[in-house]
């Protein structure tokens, strides 16, 4: 459902993404991991069409994002790392506007907006301006807007940031259930426990490159690290500090 080949993004002398190639299959939750500055967000924003690649191709649900951008966007739901709804619209108006942008019929967009607001516990705030929402509520509203048109592919960049534990759990279950329904989820996260529990496969990025890819079990086997959890594998691959801090460390 998502096919990336030789994706490169350069900003002058800096190479943010360097020849990235990967595939995310239908019905799969794929975890996109990497330390800060590894190039995850840049890659994700290229997949969604917000940034132009320097080289490489991206195919979303069978549509090349460069050649058929509108068809690719219709199949895609994007949850950004920073919630940015229109401040002067109420939550319900915002969802209805987004529904209209994706061409949903009036009745369907109303039904979906009500359904998603109820799912995320926003119904009591539906007619309040989104400028008065808390960060978590804004994040839930953005997630609802990304799911409104029932996309085939969901690309989420740190979607759990700002969510309360109950909402975070609900969202994890939702992603799993969407994958069961045959949707594809590409999820960038720093929360490795969640990635380990939720994702079918993970890709670990470092300095713009894909360092390793596979299920956690496959990574253990390939790196010959039996018994290691994803956090330990991640830190070893990305050159982070050892997970156990010495005594007396701050």
């Amino acid at each position: 459902m998502i096919r990336i080949e030789g994706l490169t993004k350069k900003y002058g002398a800096l190479t943010a993404v360097d020849g990235l190639s990967l595939q995310v299959r239908r019905g799969e939750v794929y975890g996109f991991l990497g330390p800060n500055g590894a190039g995850k967000t840049t890659a994700i924003r290229i997949i969604t069409g917000l940034l132009k690649p320097t080289a490489g191709t991206i195919v979303v649900a069978g549509h090349d994002i460069a050649k058929e951008p509108e068809a690719a966007k219709r199949s895609l739901g994007y949850i950004a790392d920073e919630p940015r709804p229109y401040d002067k619209l109420t939550g319900r108006e915002f969802l209805l506007t987004i529904g209209a942008l994706y061409g949903l019929p009036e009745a369907k967009r109303r039904a979906r907006a009500d359904e998603l607001m109820e799912f995320f516990g926003l119904e009591a705030w539906a007619d309040e301006l989104s400028e008065s929402y808390s960060h978590g509520m804004r994040q839930k509203l953005m997630i609802a807007s990304a799911l409104l048109h029932e996309p085939e592919v969901i690309v989420a960049d740190e979607p759990l940031v700002g969510l309360d534990p109950a909402s975070a759990r609900k969202l994890r279950e939702l992603f799993r259930s969407l994958a069961t329904q045959g949707k594809t989820v590409l999820l960038a996260t720093h929360i490795l426990e969640i990635a380990e529990r939720l994702c079918d496969r993970v890709g670990i990025m470092g300095k713009g490159r894909l360092l390793e890819e596979g299920s956690v079990g496959e990574l253990r086997d390939r790196l010959k690290r039996p018994g290691q959890n994803l956090e330990e594998i991640f830190l070893e691959l990305t050159g982070g500090p050892a997970p156990e801090q010495p005594e007396g460390a701050p």
Binding site: L50, E70, L101, E128
Partner: protein
């Protein structure tokens, strides 16, 4: 340490490289110098005229000073309240600062420095040509510069302290965001009223040598309050006395002493109030507003449903209705029309028919400039005002070109009404015939579409999604490019049309039949082609820019 943060931020912003940034700064600096030079020249002419009036000359100059300082005082009070709301209550770094182990009054003072600079710089800049022209006319020595500065500084500090203290108190009555919106609307109303009143007073009579009595009538009509107990009067007296300090040192010292005394007392009061109320006032300002009446009204009145592009327009309408600071712009527009009609009514009735017709044609250029100003305010910033949420449009399966065409179709409707209304007002006032009225109406409709498209296209091409203030968007390089292109377009169309129009007027003047039909057809076709080229070119340019734009 805290007070140094805004200066460090400003310094980092200046150091940031970028040819556009430097180009913009250079352009703005040149524009500022040109404007200052013009103001200086105008003031010099006025002061020069007054200095040659026996007996009343110096009185009039002092009067000008007290009026100017009264205006400055009102400006300072208004802008300090706004600056204090932004700096003390709405600034994004306040949650971080309030969490620091620092007494809130120190944060208040650090932010006060930022607010004083932000709200006073314009008055300081306006003082430069005022003092310069006055000093030159009165042959002031160099000591006038420090003496004037010593008198001006406390004049800036007094309204700052009092406005900030008052804002702290007002926070307990109104939420910060609502108060800021109310102040912006109030400011726009006050400015509109001032512009209209000033024009209706016909200030040109002040420098009319055949109308000496009008000076007295004018001053009487203005009825500027002398209010000797206000700091504006003290500052005016101090600056006027400072021009020749040795002639009347007591007058300078007494007034400057009053200013500094009041400044010190004002700041002591402001600090005492802030020490007791600032933290609670800031906490009060953080509380959300809940649903407002305007929200419900907008939801009820506006139509529902529609496709993607209708949804964008409905969203814009809702945002406009819910942003009271925007409404004032409509009043400002109404005042422009009022001033335009008033100017037309002041055209001497004894002009020949030919001259009136010529004026009517030239008037099309003036209407074009008004339409440019309106488009600059309402259409040019439209794309930028999407802000960071613009990425929602880029994510959606919508065509940027169609998005701009839709916005153009909706945006030019009020502009066409405005343009045709101006033609409708001016045609009977200038006694124009039917043919020219038809030509003018068609020209204005074409100009409106082209100017609207240029505004939207340039606004999209030079979109600035990080700026939320429309005024700041307009004063960008893109705004300048739009103005230049719009003036070039208006000039091209009027030049093309002036060819057959000239022949038509000459034929009418000498009572001959109009025979240059091919010339007219060619010129009007070319004007239509230029218009179509401007419209299509601008929208396509804007759409391509938006599609290519990297949203990081």
């Amino acid at each position: 340490m805290l007070a140094g943060i805004p200066f460090r931020r400003a310094w980092n912003a200046v150091r940031r490289p970028g040819a556009w940034r430097w180009g913009r700064m250079a352009l703005l600096t040149v524009a500022a110098f040109v404007i200052l030079g013009l103001v200086y020249g105008l003031l010099y002419v006025v002061f020069h005229y007054f200095s040659h009036q026996a007996v009343i000359g110096s009185l009039l100059m002092s009067r000008i000073f007290s009026m100017a300082f009264m205006t400055f005082l009102l400006m300072l009070v208004y802008s300090n309240v706004l600056a204090s709301l932004s700096s003390h209550f709405l600034s994004h770094d306040l949650p971080l600062l309030m969490a620091l182990p620092v007494r809130p009054v120190w944060i208040f003072l650090a932010k006060a420095g930022e607010a004083v600079v932000g709200s006073s710089w314009m008055v300081v800049i306006m003082c430069i040509p005022l003092y310069g022209a006055f000093g030159r006319i009165r042959h002031a020595p160099l000591s006038f510069i420090p003496l004037a500065a010593i008198a001006t500084i406390p004049f800036l500090l007094i309204p700052a302290a009092l406005s900030m203290a008052a804002t702290c108190g007002l926070m307990f009555i109104l939420p910060a965001r609502k108060m800021r919106e109310a102040m912006l609307l109030f400011g726009m109303l006050a400015f509109t009223a001032a512009v209209v009143t000033f024009r209706l007073l016909e200030p040109e009579k002040l420098v009319d040598p055949n109308n000496e009595m009008a000076v007295f009538e004018y001053m009487k009509l203005l009825a500027a309050p002398s209010a000797p107990w206000l700091p504006s009067a003290w500052a005016a007296n101090a600056v006027v006395a400072g021009v020749h300090y040795d002639q009347d040192p007591l007058r300078y010292l007494v007034n400057t002493g009053r200013l500094w005394g009041l400044a010190v007392v004002s700041w002591i009061v402001a600090i005492a109030i802030a020490d007791r109320t600032y933290r609670r006032a800031w906490q009060q300002a953080q509380e959300s507003l809940g649903v407002r009446r305007g929200v419900r009204l907008a939801s009820r009145w506006l139509p529902r449903g529609g496709g993607a592009y209708t949804a964008v327009l409905l969203k814009d309408l809702k945002v406009f209705v819910r942003e009271p600071s925007q409404w004032g712009q409509i009043l400002l527009l109404a005042s422009l029309v009022l001033i335009y009609v008033f100017n037309l009514s002041r055209i001497p009735p004894d002009l020949t028919r030919g001259l009136r017709s010529l004026l009517f044609f030239l008037n099309l250029g003036f209407i074009g400039l008004i339409l440019t100003a309106v488009a600059a305010r309402f259409l040019f910033p439209l794309v930028s005002l999407e802000g960071k949420s613009f990425e929602l449009l880029r994510l959606a399966p919508v065509s940027m070109e169609r998005y701009l065409w839709t916005r153009l179709a909706a945006g030019i409707a009020p502009l066409v009404v405005l343009g045709l209304a101006l033609v409708g007002f001016s045609a009977p006032m200038l006694g124009t015939d039917r043919f020219m009225t038809v030509v003018a109406s068609c020209t204005v409709v074409g100009m409106t579409v082209a100017i609207g498209a240029l505004a939207l296209g340039c606004g999209a091409g030079f979109a600035q999604f990080r700026i939320s203030n429309p005024e700041e968007v307009i004063t960008s390089i893109g705004g300048f490019v739009f103005m230049v292109l719009s003036v070039l377009y208006i000039s091209a169309v009027l030049w093309l049309e002036s060819q057959p129009v000239r022949v038509y007027y000459l034929a009418a003047l000498f009572r001959r039949p109009f025979e240059a039909r091919w010339l007219a057809a060619g010129a009007f076709t070319l004007a239509a082609l230029v218009t179509a080229g401007a419209v299509v070119g601008a929208i396509r340019y804007g759409a391509r820019s938006l599609e290519r734009r990297e949203l990081s």
